[in-house]
Amino acid sequence: MAWQQPMDGSHASGSKVAAADGPGTQRTQYPYVTGTSVIALKYKDGVIMACDTGASYGSTLRYKSVERIKAVGKHSLIGASGEFSDFQEILRYLDELTLSDHMWDDGNSLGPKEVHSYLTRVMYNRRNKFDPLWNSLILGGVKKGPKGEEKYLGMVNMIGTHFEENHIATGFGNHLAIPILRAEWREDMTFEEAVKLVEKCLLVLLYRDRSSINKFQIAKITTEGATIYPPYSLKTNWGFAAFENPSKGAVGSW
């Protein structure tokens, strides 16, 4: 991948980017501990979000019990892929935001749209300083608007690109899950239908994304609030004839 640490000594000396930084400073060039895809979709009662619980250190599957989906305030969920420490920093910003919002105690509360807009400003401003938070964030939630309950699902990434959609995925999910979601997502799916669709996508990602692990968390946000379910595994099927004796017919010197 483009942002793996280069094997030559170029990062030891620090790469010379156009504008001058102070001596001994560098601009963010690559992430270290990363989470892989997150997928999310709107369903009848709100928004459902899912991802695996792994965090990789380059090509090593270093951490296997990481929560990459968290609740934000009363009305939203945030899921992140990319640099995990940057996600933790974002959670601290959101903590400050939701705490001061809560302390007002004035009948107003930050909805998913407001949180998404805030995060977009943060991500884009960091990008403009060449010091991005190396994440792709998915923000989902339900909030009562003047026209009744309104479901919201949006995403923002490290360069500040942001949009809203009925179904969103980050990372490899863009290539493997989105085609499935585009074909099979419908308005007002039940929770069970939504989980089935999500699991279908997660399974494909498990088979095909080398940085995914077989331990997933599903979360949902409805008018009742956020629920993050305990981790569980999916059943995989490796019983293909070609896997029986993988090296049969292989050409090799040893």
Binding site: W104, N108, K113, S117, Y118, G145, P146, K147, G148
Partner: protein
């Protein structure tokens, strides 16, 4: 209040624990022409009595739209009021830029109050000489706040400030308990009646008052803060006067009289 040795600086306390400069600033509010604000659960109305310096000049602007969901009416030093309105607009715009949502009215009133407080605690500043009625709509409904030069602010169901505002307050005090359920039209009528009280016999016309309303209809659509134009104000005033002239207790309801009422000013479409 008398001139004394503790009133030169805003940063000098009197032995009785008063800041005279702040109190004098509040006097300036009482000298300005009257403003009235009232609200129901869903709508807030601001009205101001216009005072022109002479027949040749235009009257001072006292009601400002601060955002789609909020506006202010001011009394006192209108120059100070103009500057504060610009500040309020800036706060609302900045909030909307970051959060893509309207700044809740209570938080707007707080920022204004904090700005006013700063001027009561710096020796090189003076307090703003203007009182503001901040009316707006947010998630929790319609709100009305009064911000005074001291940096204090309070939420009100109805309030009046400026010269002869006591007459308006007396009128409002009699009726405010029912305001929560008032329709916008009823709020407007009471606002105009309250302003009329401050005119002390002078005739209320659309040229000596300003009116603005903000609110949310039952179906959820927002009616953004806007001034009501002079023609409509005159229509409302005319229909209010017509209603007063016909006997209140229709002891002898005659069919002709009812027909007359039907041909009065058209129902308002506010």
């Amino acid at each position: 209040m008398f001139r004394n040795q503790y009133d030169t600086d805003v940063t000098t306390w009197s032995p009785a624990g008063r800041l005279f400069q702040v109190e004098y600033a509040m006097e300036a509010v009482k000298q300005g022409s009257a403003c009235v604000g009232l609200r129901s659960r869903t709508h807030a109305v601001l009205a101001a009595a216009n005072k022109a310096a002479s027949e040749l000049s235009s009257h001072q602007r006292k009601v400002f739209r601060v955002a789609d969901h909020a506006g202010v009416a001011l009394a006192g030093l209108t120059a100070d009021g103009r500057v504060l309105s610009r500040f309020l607009r800036s706060e609302c715009i900045n909030h909307a830029f970051v959060y893509d949502a309207p700044l809740p009215v209570s938080r707007l009133a707080l920022r204004l109050a904090d700005k006013a407080q700063v001027c009561t605690q710096r020796s090189w500043k003076r307090p703003y000489g203007v009182g503001l009625l901040v009316a707006g709509l947010d998630e929790s409904g319609a709100h009305l706040y009064y911000n005074c030069p001291s940096g204090n602010y309070f939420e009100y169901q109805a309030f009046a400030i400026g010269s002869r505002s006591q007459a308006a307050k007396t009128f409002l005090e009699r009726k405010f308990k029912g305001y929560d359920d008032y329709t916008p039209e009823q709020l407007i009528r009471d606002a105009l009646s309250a302003i009329k009280e401050t005119l002390q016999g002078e005739k209320l016309t659309s040229s000596n008052c300003t009116l603005a309303i903000v609110g949310r209809k039952d179906d959820g659509t927002v009616e953004p803060f806007e001034m009501i134009d002079a023609k409509r104000i005159q229509e409302i005033i005319d229909s209010m006067e017509a209603a007063e002239e016909t006997p209140v207790a229709a002891a002898e309801p005659s069919s002709t009289q009812e027909e007359d009422k039907g041909t009065d000013a058209a129902p308002m479409d506010i």
